[in-house]
C-alpha cells in the first residue's frame, strides 16, 4: 500500500466515523413498481404512476421509489420483480393481473420483501392483493348514458369477457334501465386491452348500429376520437381523458390509487403492514367520477351525482334484487345484494341485455 492510498483510506474512515449513528435509522424505504404498459399510455399504467409520484411527495426523503415500465406478463415480470427485490426494494407494487404468478414465485424467494398485487386473488404472508370496484363507477356513467341517449341505444366496447368487465357491463345497463326503461345495450368485444385501430373500428361498428352514447373497458382514447367524428358521446376510462372535454367525453371513471398506496407505504414505515385483500370503491376514493361536463343537462348531472353519493355512503349497491339472469332464471331476491364472491366470478349478463356473452 503506497502512502497516497493509505492517506485516502484514513480520510475515508475519518469521514465515516464523523457520520451520525442515526444515519442507519433514517435509511429511506425503497419502494418498487412494475407496470404492464408505458407510463405514457394515458390510461391504466399512467394512473398507477401518478400514485407513485403522489407518495413521493407525501413521504419525501423517507422513501425512494423506482419503476419499470412496459413489463410483459410472464417470465419478464419475474425477472423485473427479482431485480427490484435485489436492488433493496422492501415494498413492491405489481400493477397488472397477469403478474400474479410471478409475484407469488418471487415473494417466496424474498420473505422479507412485501408485495402488493393489483386485481389478483393469490395471497401469501408477504403478498397482499388490492382491487377497485370499477362497477360502482359504471353505475354512475350508466345513469348518464341512459338519460343522454336519443336513440335509446347505448354501447359498450369490451376487452375480454372476464368477471371485471362483465360486472361493468351489467352495472352500466342496470343503471341506464333504471332511468330509461326502453334503453338497449349493444356490446362489442375486441379481444385486447390495447389496440387503438380495433377499438376505433369497434366504436364505428356501434355507431353504425345507431348507438349514440357508449362506454369502453379498453385502454386507448381511440373510441373517443371516433365519437368526436360522429358527434356521439363517450366517457374517459381509467384516466380522465380530459383532452376530449366537453364532448364527446362527458364524464369519466378515474382509477385513483393514491389513497391505498399512501396507506400501505405508511403501514410498512410504522411496522403495521400485514397481508390482506381489499376491494375498494367510490366511498374509499379509489374510484372517482371525472367532471361531468356542460354537455350534460343540469337535471341529468344531478341524478348522476345522487347515484354517486348513494354509492359512496353505502346506501346503494348496483346489484340489488329483484334481479334475473339473462336466461330468465332468478338471481337475487327483492332487496338482496350480490356478494363479493358472486361478483368476482360473474360470468353471465343480467336480464334485458340481448347481446350474447362469449363463453
Amino acid at each position: 500500500m503506497d502512502r497516497r492510498t493509505l492517506l485516502a483510506s484514513a480520510a475515508g474512515l475519518a469521514t465515516l466515523a464523523a457520520l451520525p449513528v442515526r444515519a442507519q435509522a433514517i435509511e429511506p424505504l425503497k419502494v418498487g413498481f412494475i407496470y404492464v404498459g408505458p407510463v405514457g399510455d394515458g390510461g391504466w399504467s399512467y394512473q398507477h404512476d401518478l400514485a407513485r409520484q403522489a407518495i413521493e411527495k407525501t413521504y419525501g426523503d423517507k422513501i425512494k421509489t423506482t419503476y419499470i415500465e412496459s413489463v410483459p406478463e410472464g417470465a419478464d415480470a419475474e425477472r423485473a420483480l427479482t431485480q427490484l427485490a435485489l436492488a433493496g426494494n422492501k415494498l413492491i407494487f405489481a400493477t397488472s393481473f397477469g403478474f400474479m404468478d410471478a409475484v407469488i414465485n418471487v415473494a417466496k424467494k424474498f420473505p422479507d420483501v412485501k408485495f402488493e398485487h393489483a386485481t389478483g386473488y393469490k395471497r401469501a404472508d408477504n403478498v397482499s392483493t388490492y382491487d377497485a370496484r370499477f362497477y360502482e363507477g359504471r353505475a354512475v356513467i350508466g345513469t348518464i348514458a341512459g338519460l343522454m341517449t336519443k336513440s335509446n341505444k347505448i354501447g359498450y366496447i369490451g376487452s375480454f369477457p372476464i368477471p371485471e368487465v362483465v360486472q361493468g357491463i351489467n352495472s352500466a345497463f342496470l343503471a341506464a334501465r333504471k332511468v330509461n326503461p326502453s334503453v338497449e345495450m349493444k356490446v362489442v368485444w375486441v379481444s385486447s386491452w390495447f389496440d387503438p385501430a380495433k377499438e376505433a373500428d369497434a366504436a364505428a361498428a356501434l355507431i353504425a348500429e345507431g348507438v349514440d352514447v357508449f362506454m369502453q373497458h379498453t385502454d386507448s382514447t381511440a373510441p373517443l376520437a371516433k365519437a368526436q367524428e360522429a358527434g356521439v358521446y363517450g366517457f374517459g376510462q381509467a384516466s380522465d381523458m380530459a383532452n376530449f372535454k366537453p364532448k364527446p367525453r362527458i364524464s369519466s371513471i378515474i382509477d385513483n390509487w393514491t389513497p391505498y398506496y399512501t396507506r400501505r407505504v405508511g403501514a410498512v414505515l410504522d411496522g403495521t403492514w400485514k397481508s390482506e385483500g381489499v376491494w375498494l370503491g367510490i366511498g374509499d376514493g379509489e374510484v372517482e367520477i371525472g367532471e361531468i361536463t356542460d354537455a350534460v343537462p343540469a337535471d341529468v348531472k344531478a341524478k348522476a351525482e345522487a347515484v354517486k353519493d348513494a354509492l359512496a355512503k353505502g346506501e346503494l349497491h348496483p346489484f340489488t334484487g329483484p334481479l334475473k339472469k339473462q336466461d330468465g332464471s332468478d338471481w337475487l331476491a327483492d332487496g338482496q345484494k350480490a356478494t363479493d364472491e358472486e361478483l368476482s366470478g360473474m360470468n353471465f349478463f343480467v336480464e334485458g341485455i340481448t347481446a350474447q356473452l362469449p363463453s
Binding site: 408505458p38 405514457g40 368485444w189 379481444s191 387503438p196 385501430a197 369497434a202 347481446a355
Partner: protein, 291 residues
C-alpha cells in the same frame, strides 16, 4: 347497415388498407431475397411521422409523404446492416421493430392526446388497390421486375450475370419501408385520428404472415389482406348488430389462417415443379460477392 353488402365491402376494403400496403412492400423485399422482420417498427414510425407532419402542415397528403420517407429512412438502417455489414437478417429485422417502437415512444410524447380533424382519404385506399395489378405486372412482365426476382431466387447466379444484387436489394428494402410507413400512417391519420404509443399493435406481424400466406404473389396479398383485415372488422360489426359470434375463435383466426397457409405452401412446394407459390430461393441468406 350490416345487411348492405356494398357498404360492408367498402368497410372491408378500408379496414384492409394498412396491412395491404405493408404486405405489398414486404412482398417486394422478400422477392428480392431479403427477409425484413422490421415491418412493425417501420409501420409505427410511419404512423408517428405521418401524424406529426399532417398535424404541422394541416395537410394529410404531406403526412403520407412524410410517413413514406420516414419508413424508408428506418429501413435504410436495416439495409446498411444486412447488405453492408452482412448481419443476420432475422435478428436485424427484430431489432428494427424494437428500435422503431422505442423511438416512437420517445418522440411521440408531445403528440399524446393531440386530436386530428377527420378527413376522408379515399385516394389512399384506391392507391393501395392500384398497387396490386401494377406490382403483378412489374414482377411478371417487366425486365427490371424479372431481374429483381432473379436476384431473390439465386443471388450468386444473378451476380454472375452482372446484375447489381446489393443495389437492387437496397431499392427493394427502401420501397418496403416506404409502403410500411404509408400503411402505418393510414392507421394514425385516417383510422384512429390520433397518435398513441404502440398503436400499430401487431399489424406489421400480420403483414409479414400475409406475404407467406399469399405465396409471394400480389393478388394473394390482396386476398390475405381482405381476409385478415376484413374478418376483424366484419366480426366487430356482426357483434354490434347482435349476432352471437365466438370471439375467441375470431381473435385466433389470423393465426389459424397463417398455419393453414404454411401447410398449403409446404404441400404446394412439394408437388409443384414450377416452384410457384414457394419462397424465393435466396430468401434470408446473406450475400457476399466473392468474385
Amino acid at each position: 347497415m350490416i345487411t348492405d353488402p356494398m357498404a360492408l365491402l367498402a368497410l372491408l376494403i378500408a379496414a384492409a388498407t394498412p396491412i395491404l400496403f405493408a404486405a405489398l412492400g414486404e412482398m417486394v423485399v422478400e422477392r428480392a431475397g431479403v427477409l425484413n422482420l422490421g415491418v412493425e417498427g417501420m409501420m409505427i414510425t410511419g404512423a408517428l411521422a405521418g401524424f406529426a407532419a399532417a398535424h404541422a402542415t394541416g395537410s394529410p397528403t404531406v403526412g403520407f409523404v412524410a410517413a413514406a420517407l420516414a419508413g424508408a429512412a428506418l429501413s435504410l438502417i436495416f439495409a446498411v446492416l444486412t447488405l453492408g455489414l452482412l448481419t443476420n437478417q432475422v435478428a436485424t429485422g427484430l431489432a428494427l421493430t424494437l428500435f422503431g417502437l422505442g423511438l416512437t415512444a420517445m418522440f411521440g410524447r408531445p403528440y399524446e392526446g393531440v386530436k386530428a380533424p377527420p378527413v376522408r382519404f379515399d385516394w389512399v385506399i384506391w392507391a393501395g388497390l392500384a398497387m396490386v395489378p401494377l406490382l403483378w405486372w412489374w414482377l411478371n412482365r417487366s425486365r427490371s421486375g424479372l431481374v429483381l426476382r432473379a436476384v431473390g431466387e439465386n443471388h450468386e447466379a444473378a451476380h454472375g450475370l452482372g446484375y447489381p444484387v446489393r443495389a437492387l436489394r437496397l431499392a427493394a428494402i427502401a420501397f418496403g419501408g416506404a409502403m410500411a410507413g404509408v400503411g402505418g400512417a393510414y392507421i394514425s391519420i385516417a383510422r384512429v385520428l390520433q397518435w398513441t404509443e404502440g398503436m400499430t399493435a401487431g399489424a406489421g406481424w400480420i403483414a409479414v404472415a400475409i406475404v407467406v400466406f399469399a405465396g409471394w404473389s400480389p393478388w394473394g396479398v390482396l386476398a390475405g389482406a381482405w381476409l385478415f383485415g376484413g374478418v376483424t372488422v366484419l366480426h366487430l360489426r356482426a357483434q354490434a348488430a347482435g349476432f352471437a359470434v365466438p370471439t375467441q375463435l375470431l381473435a385466433a383466426s389470423p393465426y389459424l389462417a397463417t398455419i393453414l397457409a404454411l401447410v398449403l405452401i409446404s404441400a404446394r412446394a412439394k408437388f409443384s415443379r414450377s416452384g410457384a407459390g414457394s419462397a424465393p430461393g435466396s430468401l434470408g441468406q446473406t450475400f457476399h460477392a466473392t468474385r
